[in-house]
């Protein structure tokens, strides 16, 4: 036995890691892997193809119980899965379906909803988008304005959703909707799901920094949603969201993504003109220690969880530090790439040697990573949370 396990990890954990790596190596289309690695776009069909491979293995839904077709993993397996899939450049698939609406339905849905909605996710036929953010309600979900009015058994939903990823490809949406007035702003919000071809739904693309079309604005104009499409209890969405985001609390750290970026940075350094630059190498080493600090902080949280202790404030540390580390890494990669990074990967191509061609997307990655400190609870919100706990006020 020459390999040394990280503290807390068992031989069985590591065997799973090896199996997973071998599976990806064997099954994932190298062209797709390459595109993900460069930061280039991946089509819906490519996402679906990979999802079907995972589904066949029983690994598509890490957070679902086994009885509904999920992997039935504990936190450690889920952590390893997230880490290795990121490290090995697998496409992320239909995250809203797999990591959010799926677990929601598994936990809070009726039997009829489970039977009706889960199979389409597992077969990759259904593609979901998530209607959380709204214009004027960024990190502050409680100030949500999309309204659902009762009409017999149905709901009539009107409002606007912003930053909706996958909407251009999705056939289903699950949306946070204010279904009743409530003294507490978090109250009165419900989960409704509906097909994207429902009358009244329209999608406008939002092009983000670097020319990426990944998010959209979705207008809901008196969309009729049957009562059977209310997930969980009416007005209970706030609590349910807390539960389902809790399943994801280590994902925000992006451990695997940071390690992947670090590997990229070290590769660029090795072949580029900065290979012997002492100052830049110091910077790379410092970023490497940042990645380790992040990784072992996550391991501490995992170990505490497995011992039945609450993860607590450290989850916010992971989100905050995880965003900063990925952003710093992406910036260092772009700087190491040099002038080629300034060239648009979407314009007429220059005739570049292969090693430079591989760096064309580095600025796009840098620009894209800025969202990490904004989306999913901004860094300012994370600092508020940490301060509240430390200050006990």
């Amino acid at each position: 036995m020459t390999r040394h396990l990280d503290p807390g990890f068992t031989e069985a954990d590591e065997a799973f890691r090896s199996e997973l790596r071998a599976f990806i190596e064997a099954e994932l289309d190298p062209a797709v892997r390459d595109a993900v690695g460069r930061g280039a776009s991946v089509t819906k069909a490519q996402h679906q193809a990979w999802q079907r491979k995972l589904a066949a293995k029983g690994w598509l839904a890490p957070n679902w119980p086994k009885e509904y077709g999920g992997a039935g993993w504990n936190s450690v397996r889920r952590f390893i899965f997230d880490e290795e899939t990121a490290l090995m450049d697998t496409p992320r698939g239909n995250v809203p379906a797999i990591d959010l609406v799926g677990p929601l339905i598994c936990t809070f849905g009726t039997e009829e909803q489970k039977a009706r909605l889960l199979p389409g996710i597992l077969s990759s036929e259904d593609w979901w988008c998530q209607g959380f953010s709204e214009p004027g309600a960024g990190s502050d979900l409680a100030s949500l304005r999309t309204r659902g009015l009762r009409d017999g058994d149905d709901w009539i939903v009107t409002g606007t959703k912003l930053w909706t990823s996958h909407a251009q490809n999705a056939n289903w949406m699950f949306a946070l909707v204010r279904t009743s007035e409530h003294p507490k702003k978090q109250g009165g919000i419900s989960y409704l799901v509906f097909p994207m071809d429902s009358p009244g739904v329209s999608v406008t693309p939002i092009i983000t920094l670097g020319g990426v079309h990944a998010v959209n604005q979705v207008f809901l104009d008196e969309v009729r949603v049957p009562g059977a499409n209310l997930i969980g209890a009416e007005g209970d969405a706030w609590r349910m969201t807390g539960y389902v985001l809790g399943l994801e609390r280590l994902v925000g750290a992006g451990i695997g993504h940071s390690q992947r970026l670090l590997k990229h940075l070290r590769d660029v350094l090795k072949t580029g003109p900065l290979a012997e630059d002492r100052a830049f190498r110091d910077r790379v080493a410092a970023l490497h220690t940042d990645v380790l600090a992040l990784k072992y902080t996550a391991h501490r949280v995992l170990a505490a969880e497995m011992a039945g202790e609450p993860a607590g404030t450290v989850v916010s540390v992971l989100k905050l530090k995880g965003a900063a580390v990925q952003q710093d890494l992406a910036e260092a990669i772009m700087e190491a790439a040099g002038p080629v990074a300034a060239v648009s990967p979407r314009a007429e191509p220059l005739d570049l040697p292969a090693d430079e061609d591989a760096l064309l997307w580095t600025a796009t990655t840098y620009l894209d990573r800025r969202k990490l400190s904004i989306y999913g609870g901004s860094s300012e919100i994370q600092r508020n949370i940490i301060a509240r706990r430390i200050l006990k006020i």
Binding site: S143, G210, P339, A347, E348, L350, L367, I374
Partner: protein, 366 residues
């Protein structure tokens, strides 16, 4: 003490005329269309018609301006993000040509904008424009062969100013873009400006300068271009420094304006500090063209360090403080962030400037 660090009335009027022109005739929609199309002939002609190109050149070179006028003009060009190769063709390459012995033959064409030279100097993996090694070699009778990379503004260039080495000595050559053996592959930068790779195959060139004079001209052109880029970046930062507080005043979270959160207020204060430091060293570098070359090199390098840092910080924080909205291409903030990011990539990373600064700084006195 005498008056310093302010634009004269004439310089202010010049800047205002450009700002007014761009506000009126260069709406965001038109700029967006140009973002994928490359060189915008109409914009170029509009700028030429304003007569502003003359302000980039010294009086003894057929112009009516110089470094300070250039600084005054590039503020509004940055603020409105005009997609035209004024910096690369008119300032960097233009100042080299105008200051050379060939200058008098070309000033008319330069100041009217009919001639657009671009500096072609980087080769291979090099990131330092002085790192001109082996590729382009003047053959007998002024014929050039070799490849030049990352030629900023090269897509729209009528001429190339090419660095070469004949044995040990640096030389500078003027080659027409349509000369035999010249091949241009054009593309766009992420901020929408043009870029090209250019190869020369026994292309005929005219010698502009060689040896010390070539080095003097190259240094001058690079420094003039660098300071124009700094002024442009300061203009972009000024725009962000107005847009961000305005956005925060107008948006609410938890029932109060975002502008009322102290953590965001302090971030903006730090942005303001970064902006003012950039402006100070932008002035310092711009005014250094009247000083000895080592002083000027130090001042320009210091400006590139400080403006680069400020550009990165202010760009990133403007996006952050705009929340998701700062990511959308609909918003000017996203475009300024792209431009400011490109500034660092095109001008070179901080360590390059730190080392030039160190080399140029007299070690005995601050």
């Amino acid at each position: 003490m005498t008056v310093a660090y302010v634009f004269s009335e004439d310089q202010g009027m010049l800047a205002d005329s450009v700002a007014r022109f761009l506000e009126r005739d260069y709406p965001p929609a038109r700029r967006r269309a140009a973002l994928t199309a490359g060189f915008d002939e109409m914009l170029w002609q509009g700028l030429a018609n304003l007569g502003l190109f003359g302000a980039l050149f010294d009086e003894d070179q057929g112009g009516f301006g110089g470094p300070v006028e250039t600084m005054a003009l590039f503020g509004p060009l940055g603020r409105h993000m005009a997609l035209a190769p004024v910096l690369e063709c008119m300032v960097t390459a233009g100042s080299i040509l105008a200051a050379s012995t060939l200058g008098p033959d070309h000033t008319e064409a330069l100041t009217t904008g009919t001639m657009r030279p671009a500096l072609a100097t980087l080769e291979g993996q090099a990131r330092d424009p002085w790192d001109v090694t082996a590729v382009a070699l003047p053959m007998s009778g002024g014929m050039l062969s070799g490849a030049k990379r990352w030629v900023q503004g090269g897509d729209a260039a009528t001429h190339f100013l090419v660095t070469a080495r004949d044995g040990g000595a640096l030389s500078l050559w003027l080659v027409a873009a349509d000369a035999p053996g010249v091949s241009v592959t054009s593309s766009l930068r992420i901020d929408g400006h043009g870029i090209a790779e250019v190869t020369f195959d026994s292309s005929p060139g005219t010698l502009v300068a060689s040896g010390d004079e070539a080095a003097r001209l190259l240094s001058l052109g690079l420094d003039r271009g660098a300071m124009a880029a700094c002024a442009q970046a300061v203009g972009e930062m000024d725009a962000l420094m107005e847009a961000t507080p305005e956005y925060l005043r107008g948006r609410e979270q938890y029932g109060v304006p975002l502008a009322s959160f102290q953590a965001l207020q302090h971030r903006m204060a730090d942005m303001f500090v970064a902006l003012e430091c950039a402006r100070s060293l932008c002035w310092h570098g711009t005014l250094a063209f009247e000083r000895p070359e080592a002083d000027r090199r130090a001042a320009v390098a210091a400006a590139l360090v400080q403006v680069g840092r400020s550009a990165r910080f202010i760009g990133q924080q403007a996006v952050q403080l705009h929340g998701g909205m700062g990511m959308s291409e609909e918003m000017p903030v996203a475009h300024h962030f792209l431009s400011l990011t490109t500034f660092g990539l095109v001008r070179g990373a901080e360590p390059l400037h730190l080392r030039r600064f160190e080399a140029a700084t007299d070690p005995e006195r601050t």
